[in-house]
C-alpha cells in the first residue's frame, strides 16, 4: 500500500528521453514551466500539450503509471478548479442559492486546471525518466558556476541524493512500525481528529529514532571511507553532452520558439 506511491519515482525503461543529459532535461523542464505561465490562450496550451505528449510517447512510460502516481495531486487541482469557478466576479452564467458561476470564472478555472495539469505531468516526467542520482548530478553541474560565490553545490547535491535515496527506506520503516503498533491493538482509523493525532505518537517516535539511527550509521560509513577529506572528488560517470543531446536541445528550442511566437503574434 504505502509502497505504491509513485510521485517523484523513477520508471526504469530504455528510451531516448531516459538517456538525455540530465542537465538538458532539468533546464528544459524549468523552461517548460515558465512557458506555461507565458501562454495566454487555449491554442498555446494545445501546443504545449502536444509537446508534452510527444515527450511522453518517446519516454515509453505507461500513461497508467503516470496518472496513478498523481492521484493525490489531482485533489489539489480539483480544489483549485472549484475555488476559481465560484470566486471570480464577472458576467453571471448560472446562479443557485448563494453561489454564482461567471463566464470569467469558467475561463479562469479551465485555464488554471490545464496549467496545473501540464505543470505537474511535465515535472513528474523529469523524475520518471531520470535516476535520482543523475538528477542530483545534473543539479550539481548546473550549480557549480556558483561555487565561486561560496555556494556549496556539491554538499547540496549530496544532501538531495541522500534524502531521495532514503524516502523508500523511511516508507518501509513507517509501514513496519504501523504494523507493529497495530499488532498491539493500535487503531489509526477511527475517532475524532484529536484522537487520530494522538494515535500518531506511537508511529512518529519510533520513526524519528529510526531516522536518526540510519543517519548516524550512514555518516559513520561515509567517514570510514574518507568522505570529505578535502581532495576534489572525481566521479565514475562524468555527464557528457552528446550529439543526441544537441539534437534534443535544438528540437526543444524550436518548440519554445513556436510557443513564444504564438503568444506574441496572435
Amino acid at each position: 500500500m504505502i509502497r505504491d506511491i509513485t510521485l517523484g519515482q523513477y520508471y526504469q525503461t530504455e528510451s531516448l528521453i531516459h538517456r538525455l543529459d540530465p542537465r538538458l532535461k532539468i533546464v528544459a523542464t524549468l523552461l517548460y514551466i515558465v512557458v506555461l505561465f507565458v501562454v495566454d490562450d487555449f491554442l498555446g496550451f494545445a501546443i504545449a500539450y502536444a509537446g508534452l505528449e510527444t515527450a511522453i510517447i518517446m519516454s515509453k512510460v505507461p500513461r497508467r503509471f503516470i496518472l496513478k502516481g498523481l492521484k493525490p495531486v489531482f485533489l489539489i487541482i480539483a480544489f483549485t478548479l472549484v475555488i476559481n469557478l465560484f470566486m471570480i466576479q464577472g458576467e453571471v452564467l448560472v446562479q443557485f442559492w448563494k453561489f454564482h458561476i461567471t463566464r470569467e470564472g469558467v475561463h479562469m478555472a479551465a485555464f488554471m486546471g490545464i496549467r496545473l495539469f501540464l505543470l505537474i505531468i511535465g515535472s513528474s516526467l523529469l523524475t520518471l525518466t531520470t535516476r535520482p542520482i543523475s538528477l542530483t548530478d545534473g543539479i550539481e553541474a548546473l550549480l557549480s558556476p556558483f561555487k565561486k560565490l561560496g555556494l556549496p553545490a556539491h554538499e547540496l547535491a549530496m544532501m538531495m541524493t541522500i534524502a531521495l535515496r532514503f524516502i523508500p527506506t523511511l516508507l518501509e520503516e513507517t509501514d513496519k512500525i504501523m504494523k507493529a503498533q497495530q499488532a498491539r491493538g493500535a487503531d489509526f482509523e477511527t475517532g475524532n481528529i484529536l484522537r487520530r493525532a494522538k494515535a500518531l505518537v506511537p508511529i512518529l517516535v519510533p520513526l524519528f529514532i529510526s531516522a536518526f539511527r540510519i543517519a548516524q550509521d550512514l555518516a559513520l560509513a561515509m567517514e570510514a571511507r574518507c568522505y570529505g577529506c578535502g581532495i576534489r572528488r572525481t566521479r565514475m560517470n562524468e555527464i557528457r553532452f552528446e550529439k543526441r543531446d544537441l539534437i534534443g536541445a535544438i528540437v526543444f528550442a524550436c518548440f519554445l520558439a513556436v510557443i513564444v511566437l504564438e503568444r506574441f503574434l496572435w
Binding site: A180, Q181, Q182, A183, R184, V201, I209
Partner: protein
C-alpha cells in the same frame, strides 16, 4: 486454539511491474499447545505468512482458521483475531515509544480497553514472564536499556495482551550469545506456563531442532516441508538445496558416521549426539 491455513496465496502490488508472489498455495495445521518453528531462506515469505495469522495482511486467496473462526472474512472477526494472536515483529525494540517501561508495556492492554487495575496487573505479570524486575524498571525510559532488555520489554508489550497464540519473528536476530540464550529460555518458559501455541520464525537450526514439536520449511513462497524435527532434518540434502543447514549436533553426527563410527539416535541436541558417541565408544 489451533491454526488451520488452506491454500493461502499472497501477492504484493498485483498488476504492477514490481508484482511479487510472496505466498503460493500454502496449507498446514498447527494443533493447540504445539511449539512450532518456521524456517526458510531470507525472502522466502516467513514474515508475510505470520502477518496473515493476526490479520495484518489480507490474503489474495485462501482461508485461515483460528479455532473455528475464519479470520479472512470481513467484519469484527478480523480485529478479534488480531487480538487473539500476539505477533512479536523482527527487531521489536524499534517499536518502543513511551517515556517509561511500564507505560510502553501498558500500550497493548490499554488498547484492549481494560481497567487501570487490570492493566497494571498485566504489566507486572508480563514483565515478570520476560524476566524483568517491575519495581526496578517501571519508571526507567526504555531507551536507556541494553539491547537484550529492550527486546524483552517489547515482547512483554505483546504478552501483556494475553494472546492465545504467540508468534515471534526471528526473536534472537542481532543479539549476542548470552542474550540469545536468555531470550530462548524465556520463550520456552512462556510457552510452558501458558500452554498455548508458540510459533517461532528462526534462522538458527540448533534452536529449532532443540525446541520445536513441529517444523515448517518455506522456500520461494511455497511450503516445502511440514513435520516433526526428526522428519524434517532427515531430509538434509533438500534443506541444503534451499540454502538451509542441519543443526550442528546432526552435522557432527553425520560426519562421525561418515568417518566410520556407527551412531544411533536422532541427534536433535548436542546432548543426544554426545550420548550417542559415548555409547558407541563404550560398545567398542
Amino acid at each position: 486454539m489451533s491454526i488451520t491455513v488452506k491454500d493461502l496465496t499472497h501477492i504484493y502490488s498485483p498488476g504492477q511491474p514490481q508484482e511479487q508472489v510472496a505466498l503460493d498455495q500454502i496449507s498446514f495445521r498447527i494443533e493447540d499447545g504445539t511449539f512450532a518453528g518456521l524456517i526458510g531462506h531470507t525472502g522466502s515469505g516467513k514474515s508475510t505468512l505470520v502477518q496473515h495469522l493476526n490479520g495484518l495482511l489480507k490474503p489474495t486467496s485462501g482461508t485461515i482458521l483460528l479455532g473455528d473462526t475464519d479470520i479472512t472474512k470481513a467484519g469484527t472477526a478480523s480485529r478479534q483475531a488480531r487480538l487473539k494472536t500476539g505477533l512479536v515483529f523482527q527487531y521489536p525494540e524499534y517499536q518502543l515509544f513511551e517515556e517509561t517501561v511500564a507505560k510502553d508495556v501498558a500500550f497493548g492492554p490499554n488498547n484492549l480497553g481494560l481497567s487501570p487495575e487490570e492493566t497494571d496487573a498485566r504489566v507486572r505479570e508480563a514483565l515478570q514472564l520476560v524476566g524483568l524486575d517491575y519495581e526496578e524498571l517501571k519508571n526507567v525510559s526504555p531507551f536507556e536499556l541494553s539491547g537484550g532488555q529492550k527486546r524483552r520489554v517489547a515482547i512483554a508489550g505483546v504478552i501483556a495482551m494475553k494472546p492465545e497464540i504467540l508468534i515471534l519473528d526471528e526473536p534472537t536476530a542481532g543479539l549476542n550469545p548470552k542474550a540469545h540464550r536468555d531470550i530462548l529460555d524465556m520463550v520456552r518458559g512462556i510457552h510452558e506456563s501458558t500452554g498455548n501455541i508458540t510459533l517461532m520464525v528462526s534462522h538458527n537450526m540448533n534452536d529449532i531442532a532443540r525446541m520445536c514439536d513441529q517444523v515448517l520449511v518455506m522456500d520461494h513462497g511455497r511450503l516445502l516441508m511440514d513435520g516433526s524435527p526428526e522428519e524434517v532434518f532427515r531430509r538434509g540434502e533438500e534443506l541444503k538445496e534451499v540454502g538451509l543447514a542441519l543443526p550442528d549436533s546432526m552435522e557432527i553426527a553425520r560426519q562421525i558416521i561418515e568417518g566410520g563410527l556407527a551412531l544411533e539416535g536422532t541427534f536433535l541436541t548436542m546432548e543426544e549426539t554426545a550420548d550417542a558417541i559415548a555409547a558407541a565408544l563404550q560398545a567398542k
